[in-house]
Amino acid sequence: MDKSKLLYNSIAVLILLIVLSIYLILTFKTPVADSSLSFGSMKVEPITLLKVRLFWMIPILFITVILSIVFAFIIEEWLSPTNIIRQIIEPYIVILSGIPSMIYGLLAVYHVVFNLISSSYTSLTLILILLVIPTTTLSTQTAIRNVDTSIRNAAYAVGGTKWQVIFDHVLPLSALDILSGVCYTISRVLTVTAVCILVLNLLTSDFSTLTVINIVNNVGIILLLVLIFSIIASLIKKNTG
């Protein structure tokens, strides 16, 4: 049991490393043509650009959060811990959710600087998916696991079907913990946004005092939001515990 877990974990690390190095090699082969940073055909300020992207991100965020909650329920309720698919999938979730959001932010910056040009929406969506799905899935899984098994047993013992048990008991009892996980994920996404805004704007700024203050203000507002979401997450979690 432990041996197979170790095996799947190391396979996961290896594959993630390979994917990352392939990605780096591919992007290094296509450096930016001219030295001045032009964000594609759109010559707009990065802040405006990110605001536009933010409106794109909200529906994507919503969809990915819902998807990962469903995903977590499928893993926890339908795949047993010894199931081979679950054993293969779980290391990726754990590893990816363990990476600090700062790294994702730098990845996003790297992506934007080197090849935002052609398909920025797709690349931002991909980074968002990479960021949201593992964290939300992991926190939802923990929330589901925290539901007392005796409650499940009691519901099964009076003739509840799997769906009835999930909708009548597991979901209501884990709802707050799931929500707390979602808040935590949102704060992670906002951290990434803060990193993007800071770095991209500093790159394109003329470093006059006014622009720097402006940038720092923008980042400050986002970091405040991060703080608020983290506090909400911890408050909700405490109440259920």
Binding site: R152, Y156, A157, V158, T161, Q164
Partner: protein
């Protein structure tokens, strides 16, 4: 009368460890059958195999045949949830849903798809009366059940199991949490329920099994050492291990 449950050569494994070894027994309808034995001898596994709650365990597998009303219990035609309803179960600790007293009992009716309020009201009242809880809670049906004592909570659990309209009611060490004053009440409930449903219960209190049951089976290390009329088991056991256990020299 034909037995309601027939078990032939039941073996149960959890992963690689074999919990039950070649169990064969019949359970007669409208009787109280007790399984006694020291802890860790597989009592709970036996009863959880009967209502398919063991299906929830990932590494569970079994061989042998279990017939319920003459039909294979583990066939694909039977849905596990339907079996769990017909062979309902009450656990060691009173497990209540985070709902009102009324809703706790009504839940068993609702999940069967019956939604008429009058019908649900009738069943709830009737079940609470059967478990002798009606007089204690009739004014407080819509309040939280946490104010009830442990014994009353256990009665509520029995009411909830009864509301599922079971043919067999299984109790897993139902008195482990109850004190001396609550146990006689529980036993009288058991006696009154005997007329309507078949009762299987598991206990490690020998005297209680002797008082309440009609048939008793002694389990030891995953084997069914002996099963027979309670009087016979407790007075003239054929196996020395049974004798040692009922006289208190073992376990």
């Amino acid at each position: 009368m034909a037995p309601i449950i027939e078990v032939q050569n039941l073996n149960v494994w959890f992963g690689k460890s074999r919990i039950l070894k070649n169990l064969s027994f019949d359970i007669e309808p409208k009787q109280v059958t007790a399984f006694i034995g020291p802890s860790n001898c597989g009592k709970t596994t036996v009863i959880r195999s009967l209502n398919r709650l063991n299906d929830l365990q990932a590494d569970y597998r079994h061989t042998g045949e279990i017939l319920f009303n003459g039909k294979e219990l583990y066939s694909n035609k039977n849905r596990a949830s339907e079996i769990a309803r017909k062979i309902s179960m009450v656990f060691e600790k009173p497990i209540l849903f985070k709902k009102s007293i009324y809703e706790n009992v009504a839940y068993s009716v609702r999940i069967r798809g019956r939604r008429q309020m009058s019908l649900i009201n009738n069943i709830v009242d009737e079940c609470l009366m059967k478990v002798q809880l009606w007089n204690d809670v009739k004014d407080k049906l819509h309040t939280d059940p946490n104010f009830l004592s442990i014994g009353q909570q256990q009665q509520l659990c029995i009411a909830r199991a009864l509301a599922a309209d079971p043919e067999i009611l299984i109790f897993d060490e139902p008195c482990a949490q109850l004190d001396a004053t609550e146990t006689p009440k529980f036993e009288s409930i058991l006696q009154s329920l005997k007329q309507q449903v078949t009762i299987i219960f598991v206990t490690n209190k020998r005297r209680q099994a002797a008082r309440v049951s009609d048939v008793a089976g002694f389990l030891y290390n995953g084997e069914l050492v002996e099963i027979g009329k309670t009087e016979q088991i407790f007075t003239t056991p054929t196996d020395t291990r049974t004798e040692n256990y009922v006289t208190g020299r073992l376990g």
